[in-house]
Symmetry: C2
Subunit: 98 residues, 2 copies
């Protein structure tokens, strides 16, 4: 299992431009057969700070997502309105049990 | 619904000290009646960077968590080994549907 947090920082004057792009990206990604979870959130205290919380079976599935038509079409359209570079973190689950 | 990402940055020489503290914190928090999700992850590329992905019904529930015996006992024990200040983001879900 691979958990991902991806963060975007969008100019305030572009919020209404990016919202339908994010909406399409989320809807199409959630339909990918390998997608376990792909949820988008907004920072309550920083408008334009968008946070994806994702779950994939493995790195290969994430790579397939990043090569998809919808990713390659929509992400550059969103990134054109960035106020700073996005970030992403690839994570392993902390093992609670022994 | 309130989504939270909380991030800790722990000194490498303290990883084996904090692991059982995190384990207890996760186990006890997941038993809180208002906890919807409380999952802990580790950055694959940055050992000692721990990331909580949490979900609570509302801010009041998060405040009850932060006032719990286990939170007030365990978090200072963990934070004693921080290499930099932790961060947290409170988030709303992006509305995909119209």
């Amino acid at each position: 299992m691979l958990k991902v947090i991806a963060q975007d920082f969008i100019h305030l004057d572009a919020l209404e431009i990016v919202r339908p792009l994010y909406r399409e990206l989320v809807e199409l990604t959630q339909r990918e057969p390998l997608c376990i979870a792909y949820d988008l959130f907004e920072n309550q205290k920083d408008p334009g700070h968008f946070i994806f919380v994702e779950e994939w079976p493995d790195r290969a599935a994430l790579d397939i997502h990043c090569a998809s038509e919808h990713f390659r079409r929509l992400v550059p359209l969103i990134n054109a309105h960035q106020r700073q570079d996005g970030t992403f973190i690839l994570m392993d689950r902390f093992q609670v049990g022994e």
